[in-house]
Structures are given as C-alpha cells and as structure tokens.
Symmetry: D2
C-alpha cells in the first residue's frame, strides 16, 4: 500500500510538513512534561527527547533546550523539579518532498503561555 | 499583542487548522497512552480525553472511541490494561477563520500502525 | 498461580498496602501532569483520574482535588493551563488483607514541593 | 523543618524504602510508556529513564532494560513503536536509613501482566 497516496493525497507537501511537525511537537510536550529534571541530568534528558522524537514520520531533526536558569533556582531539598512546558525551547524540523517546516515551542512572556507556531517554512 | 498577526501570518487559515489539529492529536496520544482502562471505566476516560483536549487552541470538538473488544478480551486477573494507541479511534475537528480540518487517528491493520492523517478539510 | 504467594510473601500486609498505594500515587502524578485543564473541565478530569486509578491492584478509593484558585487566576488568552503536581491534592486508600493505608499527595509550601507520604495506616 | 520527623514518623525505615521505591516505579512506567522507541535509540532512552528517575527521593540506582527482541520484530514502515510496559524490565534500588529495597517491574507471561513487586529487601 502506498500510504501517502491513500491517506495524504488531499494535502500539499507544504501542509504535510506542517502536519507532521505539529504532531511531533504536541507529542513531545505531553510525553515529557512531568519528568523529574535537575541541572545535572538536563543534558541527558534533552538528548533522549531529541532521539525519540526524531523517530516520528517526516522528522529530520529536533533541537531541545531545557532552561538552566530555572533549574539553578530550584529551592527545595530534593534538587530537582518536574519538567514544565515553560522550561522548554524546542525546534522541530520536518520535511516532506521538497518542503520543510520549522515548528517552534517557546514560552512567550507576553502571553504567559508556551506557544507552538511555525517559525519557518521553505 | 495580536498573536495571530505576530506568530501565524506566514501560514494560511487552512494550514492553521491543520497545524492546530495535528498538535492536539499528538498531545492526546502521548498524554493518555499508558492510562489504566477497563470495560467499566472506558466511557469516563473517553469523556475526559474529549473535554481536556477540546481546551486546546482552535479545537471545536474531539470524538474519542476506545476499542471495547480489546477490553472485553482482557485476560489477566486485574481486569484492566494500559491504554495503547492501537485501541484509539479519534477525530479532532479544528477550525480557523473559515477553514476546518478533521484529523483522524486510527489503527491501520495493513500498516500495523496507529496512523494520524487529515481525514477531511473544508 | 498464586501471585501473592509467589511474589509477595516477603512483605507483610501492611507493607503491601503501602507498596500498592505508593505505586498508584506515582502513576497518577506522572500519567496526568501536563493535561490541559480549566475551571470548567476540572471536575471531569478529577473524576477520570479517580476512575482510572481505582483500577490498580489493591486500590479501594482515590480522591482527587485540583486547585480551583489556580485555575481562576489563569491569565492567558487560552483560559486553560497544563496540570502540575502543585495543583493536586490526592488521597489514595489502598488495602491488603486486614491492612489499609492512606497515601497523600499535597503541595507543602514550606518544602516548595508536592510531597507524597503515608497519611494514615490502620 | 524536619520532613522525615513530621511526615514519615508513622512508618519504619523498611517501609519507607518500600514506599519510595514503589512511587518511583509507578512514576517511571506512566511517564515513559508511549515514548517512540527503536532498536537504534533504545539505549539513549534507557539512560534517560535511569538518570531522571534516580533523582527521586531515596532512590540509589535504577536499571532499565527495554526488550530488544520486540524492537527487532517491528514490522511497520516507520521502524519504531510506542514503548509499552510489556517491553520493560526495571530494577529500582531504594534506601532509607539502614534499609534497602529492590523494586522490580517485569512482564510475567503466566499473568499476562507487567508486575511490580518487591524483589529483595535487606
């Protein structure tokens, strides 16, 4: 079976790139929010988020940064906190055919909300 | 701040509907997979998935069906299992401006994979 | 196979009640943190957390309260936020044989941490 | 504030070790089930589960094995699947004071269930 022909012939390559990138960003957020994280372990978690999310269809690269300032300021006796969307800065590069989309997750202070948007499309 | 103007002026209303629907589908899958579910509690879980995911930006309605046959066949002494993507059949209706998209999650036997695709766009 | 005899003969009924209650509390936190929640949908989510987590072995009842004050104060244009451990107040009542344990999850301001502890055991 | 004195004076060191190990096992399962995983990325995911879960209170070490046979047998065109409890073999070593507990998660074929139990206590 040709999956693309059967299930994706109603959208353009540009739309497909947006579609797949958006799925992966929603997935990433809801899979990993809540994970325990500390200054010392943040790098390992970033790498694992990257490697697992790059498996998804049409995903070329995933860049993940967990905010270190928040981790430095943790003031409880356990020295870690649960990962939140506010701490994440992520770029997902998806591609299909000749189209690429960069989906971004970034906390926007003005909105007080971790926004997902299409940063670039080419 | 006008969020749409600042962050979404590079994509069309049709693309925006696809984008937001896809985020919600990825989110739904990765938030709820793993949840304990039984024949008796499946309805409550479906309703809760629907209500929480309808909160996301540009989402009009979410329809969730958890496969009852799988639940009927559970053969362990605990009478429940962890929710998997294979058990889910979901439709997310997203809209932006004058455009609507139905994003579908469905297990496709031929692919042996719970596929997410754009079922309708109008 | 007698599971209790084979796998649990090294701990007392009291320890078993603690064990099963603790598993369910850890599970509950990490399954549901991140879920979108609003004032209007909080009740549905509470009910669903209760119903799904009561399926786990040796769990009699689960009581869940999501902090409404936090939800009332949400100040973004989307009128919802992601559930955090800080917003949860949970009691899990587990029992085995003639022993019962109430496991509590509660945000402790002095600790700045959502603490899990054994509230009662009888 | 002395947390142990205030919140944990009703249970013994042995019970505390069981309690904390059990929380971490429930947390681990429900945080990571659903994550995309492939043969190639399984090692990175194992390491990240280990590092994040070792942050939890009273946890000394976490050993995680994701079943490679299941991953080798993946027969879909995407070459990855969602992590399930059935694929996990985990040992959590918790300690409090002079007591240690090894909590195990293992799929038991006879039960058709990924069982959590206390493997050792010393």
């Amino acid at each position: 079976m040709n999956v693309d022909e059967k299930y994706f012939n109603n959208i353009s390559p540009r739309e497909r790139a947006i579609f797949e990138g958006a799925i992966t960003m929603g997935a990433l957020f809801h899979q990993f929010v809540g994970t325990p994280v500390s200054l010392e372990s943040a790098g390992t978690l970033e790498k694992s988020i990257k490697k697992t999310m790059e498996l998804q269809p049409c995903i070329k690269t995933v860049e993940v940064k967990i905010d270190r300032e928040t981790l430095e300021e943790v003031k409880n006796e356990y020295d870690y906190i649960s990962l939140t969307g506010e701490m994440l800065d992520v770029k997902v590069l998806s591609h299909y055919d000749d189209k690429n989309a960069v989906i971004r997750l970034k906390f926007i202070e003005e909105l007080n909300y971790p926004l997902m948007y299409v940063e670039e499309i080419f």
